[in-house]
Structures are given as structure tokens and as C-alpha cells.
Amino acid sequence: MFSFACRGQRPFALALLILLSSSVAVLGDNGSPVADAGLWGTGKIPEFIAVLLLSLVMVIGVIHVRRRGRPQLRPLPPIAAVDDAIGRATEQGTAVIYTTGWGGDMSRPTIMASMEILGSVASRAALNGCRLLVPSHDPVIVGVAQDTISQSATVAGRPDWFASSDVTFVTQSQFGYASAFAGLVARHHPGSVFLIGTFEGEALILAEAAHDAGAVTIAGTDSTIQLSFFLVACDYTLIGEELFAAAAMVSGDERAAAAVLAQDMIKYLILLLLLIGGILVGFGFNLNDHL
């Protein structure tokens, strides 16, 4: 049910217990300390506490990582397959196609994580001299992708490899975008296709078009509905928060790894709350009624 990306988390469990105790102590006085104040929205105290808690745990995570070093992240098969996928496209003399899907724009965290992975894919494609095509439905994503790929190519020592015409705005229309992608795949016969971002109904069209062209498909999305399609139709799939963990993994940034550690700690807390809530419901006390 939960996938915990990091190992060796005992100090964090202690810090989390202290935080949880303090939060319960603050709430315990009157149940909702500021609900009667004119400025606060009603019914949002639990969310406010959740935001505070996540922020505090992330700060603790950053401090922990600075003292103990970057935590070890569980290996992700889709990320391990990136080199093989790009190598396959290089050997075939074909291109790699990367898309962030139709469902999101640059303000979405999933697309930000996808850009991080795109940077890693671009640097490897640049080293191999393999063409990278990035069709997109959003002009802002096109701009960011162009900058990301250009930067990655420069860092890889191949600034001449990048062609801005390979990163294109296609159309805003959902199925126009799917048609354009399918046409791109049919014309270029890519060796590998990356479907990492936010997808809607066009997801299966993209995955099947890539499969029909014989490409290796590596996918990841935040949509649970499209995730089920990707799990069936793609060779490798990043499930749920693995997408964000993958972005932290490829970025090499210790603060991103600290965020993954913080997410795992919050998941422990949620598991604890579920257990406590389940036991309390057995005794006739519904915690949800008191939040």
C-alpha cells in the first residue's frame, strides 16, 4: 500500500513523534484554537496543521540530510532503464520522444518533476548523439523544455547537439495533440518514448502508438486512472510518488532527496493515524467528527 523510498529513518521517527505530540497538545486545549476568529476559514484547521507539519518535517529532513548525507533511495526500474532505452534509440539510428502529456501546465508540480527527468534524459541523449523530440500542448512548457535541454546539452559538453525546432508547440486541443504525437511516432519510429507528466484521455492513444511503432515506453503520471492504462500498455511505469522520487534521484540535489525523506515520514504518520483512528472507531469514537 505504501512504498517507502528511503532507508534508515529512526531519528526521524523520533522527531515525528515529538511533532505529533506537540500538535495534539496545541489542539487538545479547545479542539480548534482559531476557528472562532474572524479571519480563518471554517473547517480548514486540519489542512493548516497538515501544511505546518509537512513544512516542519521537510526542514527536519534538510537538516538531517546535511548532517548525515544524502539518503539512499530505493532503485527505480524505470530510471534504471533510461540508459538502455536511449542506447536502443541510438543503435537504431532513430529518435527519442519525450512528452509531458496534455493535462497539466508548468505550474503543476508533476510537470516540474518531469522537467527534471527531461534534463537527465536530454544529457544522456546528447552524450549519445541521439535526437530528442519533445512535442507539447503548452507554449510555456515548450520554453522551459528548450532551456532545460539546452542547459543539459551544454553541461554534457554537446551544446551543438540541441535543435530548438525539436521542441515544439503542437496544439492545445487534446485529441489534436494525440494525433500529432501519433503522427510524430509513425514518421520517426522512435526507439524509445517517455510519457512522464500529467495525462488525460489521450494517454492510451500515446502509449499504444508508441507500442505499435516498436518503441520502449517509460511512463509516469499523477493520474490514477491513466496510471492503470500505462501499467498495462507501457514497459516501465513510475507509480504515484515514484515520479517525484525519480526526479529527486536524477537531480542529485540533496534537498530534493530530503523532500522524499519527509514524504516518507508523513506517510508513517498517516499510517499511525489510520491505525489509531481504526482502533478508536472500534470503541465508538470517530476522530473525523472532532476535526
Partner: protein, 206 residues
């Protein structure tokens, strides 16, 4: 300096939007609506830039092959004609622009959308193979849900619709919620990193 300004603007807007969600002050709600309208304006201008870039790219590629030339003529011609129809005839219900959308674009979109039904069938045929215990459980669950959702399933046995409902409402929903929790935490953590100025992918790798 430019990057620093962008990060400061992102952080300030992020904090403002978090505060406006929890605090019911009129000036905060007005600021939220103003930011939304700014986002729409920015996106509209970005869209114009994107469309012009596509047209320029198509024209540049028109000289390479006959196929590219045909594609360029069709694409640029359609963009110009539709734009002209919109500017000259308006975008009202009975306008030529609306006619073109209803009789040309909508059928094309529907055609591509209809491919999904066949792709679902081919993906299911490929994916539902009982190679392992887990995939065997998947196949059995998929069969129960498929049959339980159609009238023939209820005709076969009344247990199937109930079984399908139980699979969708209990184990499937539990897994879905677990994935959503993970995704939600990932999004929240990334958003906090943007507000803190740590996450800078929106600046293009700098």
C-alpha cells in the same frame, strides 16, 4: 539577477496563495482573483507566441520534401482561414467559425477519441496474461468487473455485480487512495520547495 527576481516572485505569490486559502480577508481574495486573471493573460500571450512559432517552423520545413510541403500548406492554410473566419464573421452560434468547429474540428476530435475503444481492447489483450500469481489475480478481478458491469453478468449470476462493486469499492479504492496520498504529498513537497526557492525547474534548468 533575473533568476533571483523570478524566484522571489514565485515565493511571494506562493505564500500569498497559501495564506488566502486559510484566511477570509477581502483583499486576499481580490489578490487571488487578480493573480488568476494575470495567469490567463500570460497564457494567452504565450499561446500567440506558440502558434506563430509553429507556423514559422512549418514554413521553414516546407522546402524539404513534398510531404512536408503539403503538410505546411494544409496547416498554415487552415490556421489562416479559421482566423479569418473568426475575425470577419465573429464566433457566435451561427457564425462560419462555429460551423467550421462543429463540422470539421469536432468530428476529427471524436474520430481520434473513438480510437480509445480499440486501444483499450488491444492493451487489455496484451496486458491480461496470467504469467504470475499477481497477473492471475488481475485477470480474475478484471473478468469479474467486466462481467459485473454488463447485463449478461447479472443474468449469469447475481454475485457478479456485487463482486464487481466490492472489488471497485474496497481493494481498488484502497490502492487508489494510497497512490493519491503519495502523489498529494509529492505535490505538496514540490510546492513547498518552489515557495522556499529550492525548486527551480520552472526556470529551465538554471
Amino acid at each position: 539577477m533575473r533568476d533571483r527576481l523570478a524566484v522571489m516572485a514565485a515565493s511571494a505569490c506562493g505564500v500569498l496563495l497559501v495564506v488566502q486559502y486559510f484566511v477570509n480577508a477581502d483583499w486576499l481574495q481580490a489578490s487571488y482573483r487578480l493573480l488568476l486573471s494575470w495567469m490567463q493573460a500570460i497564457f494567452a500571450f504565450a499561446l500567440v507566441v506558440g502558434v506563430l512559432a509553429v507556423i514559422r517552423d512549418r514554413i521553414a520545413r516546407a522546402g524539404r520534401t513534398t510531404e512536408e510541403r503539403v503538410n505546411a500548406v494544409v496547416m498554415v492554410g487552415a490556421a489562416l482561414v479559421i482566423s479569418l473566419l473568426g475575425f470577419v464573421g465573429g464566433t457566435g452560434r451561427e457564425s462560419p467559425f462555429q460551423w467550421a468547429f462543429v463540422h470539421l474540428q469536432a468530428p476529427m476530435q471524436t474520430t481520434v477519441f473513438s480510437l480509445l475503444a480499440f486501444y483499450v481492447a488491444t492493451a487489455a489483450y496484451r496486458g491480461f496474461r496470467a504469467r504470475t500469481i499477481e497477473s492471475g489475480v488481475l485477470v480474475v478481478a478484471a473478468l469479474i468487473v467486466l462481467l459485473g458491469r454488463v447485463p449478461i453478468g447479472e443474468w449469469l449470476t447475481p454475485v457478479l455485480p456485487g463482486g464487481a462493486d466490492w472489488i471497485l469499492n474496497t481493494p481498488a479504492l484502497a490502492a487508489k487512495r494510497a497512490i493519491l496520498i503519495g502523489i498529494g504529498l509529492g505535490m505538496a513537497a514540490t510546492s513547498l520547495r518552489v515557495i522556499a526557492g529550492i525548486e527551480r525547474t520552472y526556470l529551465g534548468g538554471r
